[in-house]
């Protein structure tokens, strides 16, 4: 009986995202049918594109790497109860700073590598901290300020690589930094495959964050702040401090997402290389989908990455455009916090109970 309850406990938080995923896939099926393609075949091709062979599998994991890290960063902020929407800016600043550090910090490859990680983390963290500080000190709504700061950060990074730090070596003047020294590159996990050391870092990060949130005092403070800020304050938790701390780490980890992408896959900062694939937004969806559980976020990130690489495979082999992946994702998030059926009446009943107490 105890086991049964344990299983129920384990499954209950999963039911909601699973339902959302089903609705997402159903909507995708509708769109596929609308174009006049076979739903089953298309999804089959999609599956193969994501997991069909070892090459595709590693490509999926490579794509998942920055998404996991961004998702983890956001999970911290969400757990603390703040809507950090600025992962994109934080990631891009982290990436460009990491690239610059590995180019211009003198020293051995290891020193460069270390300073690149430090620069990436700090850049993302401080940018995020700025929004947190504006919220704490001046009540500037973080949800919106972080969104707007994205545009500023991306444009600023674009300026850096278009003007002062542009790679002038090639014939065509692209908006990118010069290539970083090979000694600083993160090693690939398998020769010839795109997945790199960053994936391992991301997975370790997920485990560490899970433990930190679940079992340490700081984690407890962050979670209680998110669940009820009044309760946290009443219990002696310093609200502002915990919020700023959460925002700093949140942005810092997003910065790391940019860092590993630069050091492990691009080997330079290329304008648009991080924004066009929408890593930050996919990371956001992963965190939302997993209800900010770090382990769940990692799993959701891999799922969403698979959806995207699968969609690319689908586009190569069928008439269905790959944008269907974004449609599925959108629907999925739209309903991930919805209260369906079972949950639905429970909430209704609860609401009336609360009124009843009045």
């Amino acid at each position: 009986m105890n086991l049964q309850r344990k299983i129920q406990q384990l499954l209950k938080p999963l039911s909601q995202p699973l339902l959302a995923v089903l609705i997402g896939l159903f909507t995708g099926a509708l769109a596929i049918a609308l174009i006049g393609e076979s739903v089953i075949d298309t999804y089959k091709v999609m599956w193969d594109g994501a997991f069909g062979n070892f090459y595709f599998l590693t490509a999926t994991l490579a794509r998942a790497t920055p998404i996991i890290l961004v998702g983890l960063g956001l999970a911290i902020a969400f757990r603390a109860g703040v809507f950090n929407m600025g992962a994109e800016g934080q990631m891009v600043l982290g990436a460009v700073c990491a690239a610059l550090a590995s180019l211009y910090v003198p020293g051995s490859g290891f020193v460069k590598l270390l300073s690149a990680f430090l620069a990436g983390f700090l850049a993302g963290g401080l940018w995020s901290l700025l929004a947190g500080w504006m919220e704490v000190k001046y009540k500037v709504q973080l949800l919106i300020s972080t969104l707007l700061l994205n545009y500023v950060a991306v444009l600023f990074a674009g300026y850096l690589v278009a003007e002062p730090f542009q790679d002038k070596s090639g014939s065509a003047a692209l908006a990118q930094t010069p290539m970083i020294d090979q000694a600083v590159w993160l090693p690939k996990l398998f020769t010839g495959m795109s997945v790199h050391m960053g994936f391992v870092i991301a997975v370790i990060g997920a485990v560490v964050l899970y433990v930190a949130l679940q079992f340490t005092s700081s984690g407890y403070e962050v979670r209680m702040l998110g669940k009820n800020p009044f309760f946290a304050e009443y219990g002696g938790i310093n609200k502002s401090k915990v919020l700023l701390f959460s925002m700093f780490f949140s942005g810092g980890i997003s910065g790391l997402a940019g860092t590993v992408e630069v050091l492990g896959s691009q080997y330079r900062y290329v304008e648009g290389a991080l924004t066009v694939p929408g890593y930050a937004w996919t990371g956001l969806m992963a965190a939302l989908l997993a209800n900010s559980n770090p382990l769940g976020t990692a799993a959701a990130a891999i799922l969403l990455a698979a959806l995207q690489t699968g969609a690319m495979g689908m586009e190569r082999n069928t008439e269905v455009p790959l944008e269907i992946a974004s449609v599925i994702q959108g629907v999925l998030i739209l309903f991930v916090t919805a209260k369906f059926t079972l949950n639905w009446w429970k909430v209704k009943k609860k609401a009336s109970d609360i009124n009843g107490a009045v």
Binding site: F215, T216, R223, K227, N228, F231, N355, A357
Partner: protein
């Protein structure tokens, strides 16, 4: 004769829980029916069914002899039932007129005819002798005035049956008298009134008929003239009430010293005005007062949730002024908050997590900044045993606990700190009698160990039962402090209304 309203064998089940079990009431034209009972007796559920907010599991409602059903407030209003909620349903930014006419606004080609509305409100106010200022903003009105708005609103909606849910809880004694007069007058004009309350003196003053509920059942159905307060109390509680025991004086050295603190607040008047107060060891100091006279701010100032503009707060030899909440708690301050859902717990957190607040960083439960959950679980289990908290499992959400059980958990948590000083704000609000006695016992026990307790409660009976000394707050000041022996409900009532003892009891500063 046919009754204006009859509810027959009303039953309401929530899952396994029987909130109402075959309750019947009858109401005649021009009659005041009091429905009395303790918290959780089922009064609110019954009225919610009458007002269409809940559907009965079984039972029938007859209006003027005809069977009917209510599918929502809209429906009930249409059939002539009006409800004055305990917590006012007002729009503070709207004017008195707008608040009264909303839902039935006078319309002129789709436009809101505010002028006509204002005239109608004035007329209604004159007709029923319920004075209001139609153009004032509801948010600027006193509590008594806001209640008058609510009453006029249901009259404007054309209600023949008016439900008043605990209407006197928030009023000054003077305002209570005015309200009772209004109720009588409305009944004389042919309205039927249902008064929900647990305050028996008021029942004796105004009701024609009394229905007593206990645990979802009717335990008494009598005419006022045939009964007495004692008999009603017995029917309400089901046994003799505990009499307060004589107690030995313990009063030791001063523990908490509040010295001339002020908080400016937003309005013109300060929220706390040069307030001074001392709580000694081995003493319970009760704060009495009509809610909204600065009690909440006083608690928040002492606990560090609000900063003071002036004055000092000391605990023993430590100055707490300007210090953080955490610092104060470490110095030996525990706090049962007035609102358990807002301050006292996180609904989404597990029971264990809610209990852990304040303990997670204590040495006994924390190693290398990891929380030692295993050692802590034993502590929570101890609380659950001692206070008989009904919980499915420690991993269940705090929000799933019933109000009383959650309150017991919070009380257990705060007592568990074993601090020298405790603030107990509304420690038994909304809990059943069993839980109430537990909590009272625990607080007294703490006092008898020589700790100091500051008790804030809107229930005078609770203050009188527990306190060694009683301080009365009015408009941010303490107007007087009485010893337990000298305090009577009458004397406190006068003080609570802002009147000095030597002045006549009718003098009142809050009337508009």
């Amino acid at each position: 004769m046919t009754y204006r309203l009859e509810m027959k064998e009303m039953t309401k089940k929530y899952g396994d829980f029987l909130a109402n079990d075959g309750i019947s009431i009858q109401l005649k034209k021009g009659e005041v029916l009091a429905i009395v009972g303790e918290n959780g007796a089922g009064k609110t559920t019954l009225m919610r069914m009458l007002y269409g907010l809940e559907q009965p599991t079984s039972g029938e409602i007859k209006l003027n002899g005809d069977q009917t059903q209510f599918y929502g407030p809209r429906d009930s209003i249409k059939q002539g039932i009006g409800m004055v909620h305990q917590h006012f349903m007002l729009f503070s930014d709207f004017t008195v007129t707008e608040n009264i006419v909303i839902g039935h606004e006078p319309i002129n080609n789709g436009f809101f005819n505010r002028k006509l509305a204002s005239e109608q409100v004035q007329k209604l106010s004159d007709q029923y002798k319920i004075p209001v200022n139609p153009s004032k903003k509801a948010g600027d009105c006193s509590v008594g005035e806001q209640q008058r708005i609510e009453i006029l609103k249901v009259l404007y909606q054309g209600a023949e049956i008016i439900i008043l849910d605990e209407p006197t809880a928030v009023l000054t004694p003077f305002e209570v008298d005015e309200l009772l007069k209004t109720i009588r007058y409305l009944a004389d004009q042919g309205k039927s009134i249902i008064l929900i309350t647990h305050k028996l003196p008021e029942v004796m003053k105004v009701a024609d008929h009394v229905t007593v509920l206990r645990n979802g059942r009717v335990t008494g159905n009598v005419k006022k003239v045939d009964t007495s307060i004692d008999e009603l109390a017995k029917m309400m509680v089901g046994r003799e009430l505990q009499q307060l025991s004589e107690r030995n004086q313990l009063k030791g050295e001063p523990l908490l010293e509040v010295e001339a603190i002020s908080i400016k607040g937003k309005g013109s008047k300060p929220v706390l005005d040069q307030l001074s107060l001392t709580v000694h060891r081995g003493e319970i100091v009760g704060i009495a007062g009509v809610s909204g006279n600065g009690q909440s701010e006083l608690i928040q100032a002492i606990t560090g949730l609000t900063s003071v503009d002036q004055g000092d707060i000391r605990l023993g030899s430590t100055n707490l002024t300007g210090k953080s909440v955490a610092f104060r708690r470490n110095e030996g301050l525990a706090h049962i908050p007035e609102d358990r859902f807002l301050w006292g717990a996180a609904k989404e957190a597990t029971i264990e997590e809610t209990g852990m607040m304040g303990y997670y960083n204590k040495k006994a439960f924390n190693k290398y900044s990891f929380i030692l959950k295993k050692s802590f679980r034993g502590v929570v289990k101890g609380w659950i045993d001692r206070f008989e908290i009904k919980a499915k499992s420690l991993d269940d959400k705090s929000g799933n606990l019933s109000g009383g059980n959650l309150q017991k958990l919070i009380v257990a948590r705060e007592l568990g700190f074993e601090t020298d000083f405790l603030i107990a704000a509304e420690p038994t609000r909304g809990v059943d009698i069993g839980a109430m006695e537990y909590i009272h016992e625990a607080i007294l026990e703490k006092r008898n160990r020589g700790d100091g307790i500051l008790l804030v409660s809107s229930e005078l009976s609770e203050i009188l039962l527990l306190s060694d000394r009683i301080a009365v707050m009015f408009e941010g000041k303490i107007v007087d402090i009485l010893n337990r022996r000298d305090a009577t409900e009458e004397r406190l009532s006068v003080l609570m209304a802002g009147g000095k003892e030597d002045e006549s009891s009718t003098k009142n500063t809050t009337t508009a």
